[in-house]
Structure formats: C-alpha cells, structure tokens
Symmetry: C2
Subunit: 172 residues, 2 copies
C-alpha cells in the first residue's frame, strides 16, 4: 500500500514537471507573439475563479502538503509572492526538490494517519480518505486548470505535454 | 494494494456523479437565463480542444476502461452518439451502474496485468504504471476540463461541486 502512495506522489512530482514544461512553452509562445509572458499570471477562465498564479501555487501546495501530512515530515514554506512565470518555475523546482528526497519507507502507515487542516473546523480524515478524496482530485484540478488557462490563451500545449512520457515497453 | 485500486476507482465513480451534479446545475442555470442548455455540448476552451460532449465521454470511458483493463471484465459499449445534456447524464448513469458491481476482489493482481490499447502501436504498460501514469491523470483531466467549460460559461459551480462530500469525522 505504501508503495502506491509513493508512486502517486511521484506522479504528482512528474505532473509539476509537466506544468513547468507548459510554462516554458508559454514563454516561447509569448516571445514568438511579442507579448510579456507575465500577463498570463492573472489570466483566468471565469471572473470568480483563481488566476494562473494561484492555480500553480495550489498544485505545488497540494503535492507538498499531501506528502507532509502522509509522512509526518515538515514541508518547506512558500510565501505565495510570485510575480513572474520564472518565479513560479522556481517554486515548482523547490517543491520537486523536496519531493525528491522522499522514499517509499516514509509512507509506512500513511493511510492510518489522522489528517486535518484549519479550514475543516476541527474535523479530521484518515490519511487514506484524505489522499484519495481530497489531495488527488485537488492536485489534478489545479494542474488541469493551469493547462486550460494556457490553452485558452493560445499556447500550443496538448495532452502529451500534460501526461509526459509513459512507462511503455515492447511486449515480453 | 488491490484495496487502493478499488478505492480510487470508487473515487472516479464519485467524480462522475459530481460531473452529473454540475450538468444539473448547468441545466438550472440555462433555465434561469432562458437559453437551451444543449448549446453547451459544443462549447470548448480552445478551437482545437475537444468540446464538452467529448470531455464527458472521455471521463466516462477512462473510468470504465481502467476498470475493465485492471479487472479483466468486459465493459459495456457506448456509441458516442449523445446529442443532449440529458443523454450525457444517461451515459454517466450507465457507467456508474457498471462500476457499482465491482468489488475489491476484482482487482487482485491488477498491478501485474499487461495493458495495451490500439493507439500505443504494440507497446504495453503494467497495470500499475497504466493506472498511475495514464488512467488517473486522464480521468481528472477530462473531469476538470468539463468543469472548466461550465465555469467559463457562467454556470455557478465551485470546488465543493467538484470534490463532493468528504469522509470527515470528529476527532476520536
């Protein structure tokens, strides 16, 4: 079981790398079209939905905090002060570096941990329920919304940029 | 391990229910505003991205085919012929009914299965890799994009409508 927590956290790490890759494509696109890529920071799909900057911050935080809550380790703090795409890329790199040092053994007992966060007003969830019902959908929500905002702005990202390389092999 | 496959497939089933819930909100919104809700079927976020109808079909297919490939069971066929939001809701109900009859025991050995699909040109993946690298991100990609298209069109959906109810409890 702990192997699967580890495997999915690793997949989130890969997902953060794909977001970084899409932001690189956005930067190239902006250069080609002759606009400042940082105007995309405040782009959004609806006036009452979070803009790109917050979507990326929340994807980072979801992967980081899920790992911290499931392993009992202290996660690095981030100030949510990014003003540029390059600063967002640096934040992703910081979270990826932290996720890089986790091992499968860190997730022993993860499903049985008791998880809470301030906005739950004292309620708790088991690690297993928190991971599957909350962390997993939230991570992909913010990752996909980031992608969708870029796509909506004309950046030439496609599903392959979202999924990244797959562990495919020739049949045995 | 098999329990976690089952738990995540169950979460996808819940996710399909949340899509249905968001489509219901879209129908109410259309009535309030006085437009035909079915115009949303062809709404999209970028001219070269799939429209709402295809996003919902693919969310359904990803949950259905992941379950079929990981359990060895034959999934029901769907013709991709939906013309209305109500027909999309019927498709969701059909997939949810199929997922409802799966048990944790059906997923024994799921991670060691050999998975392929026509577009992989002969390549294969292990069940474990396929599930984490392909099925999981794809499912949430199409679920989130469906939500984003509705949000972009003014439907009053929020994160709670996306996540649904959580298994929270008071501390022991």
């Amino acid at each position: 079981m702990r192997a699967m927590y580890y495997q999915i956290i690793n997949q989130m790490k890969k997902g953060l790398g794909q977001i970084d890759h899409c932001l690189t494509k956005a930067t190239t696109y902006a250069q080609t079209r002759g606009f400042d890529v940082n105007v995309l920071m405040t782009s959004r799909l609806a006036p009452d939905q979070f803009a790109l900057v917050r979507q990326v911050q929340m994807a980072c935080d979801t992967a980081k905090m899920a790992s911290a809550r499931l392993t009992g380790k202290d996660a690095p703090k981030h100030e949510d002060s990014e003003k540029t795409i390059d600063e967002l890329k640096a934040r992703i790199a910081s979270v990826v570096a932290w996720l890089d040092q986790l091992t499968p053994e860190d997730f022993v007992g993860a499903g049985e941990r008791v998880v809470t966060q301030p906005r739950w007003e004292g309620k708790v969830m088991s690690g297993a329920d928190y991971f599957v019902e909350h962390a997993l959908p939230n991570f992909y929500f913010h990752m996909t919304t980031t992608y969708a905002i870029l796509r909506n702005n004309g950046v030439d990202v496609g599903k392959r940029n979202f999924l990244g390389a797959l562990s495919q092999r020739s049949p045995a």
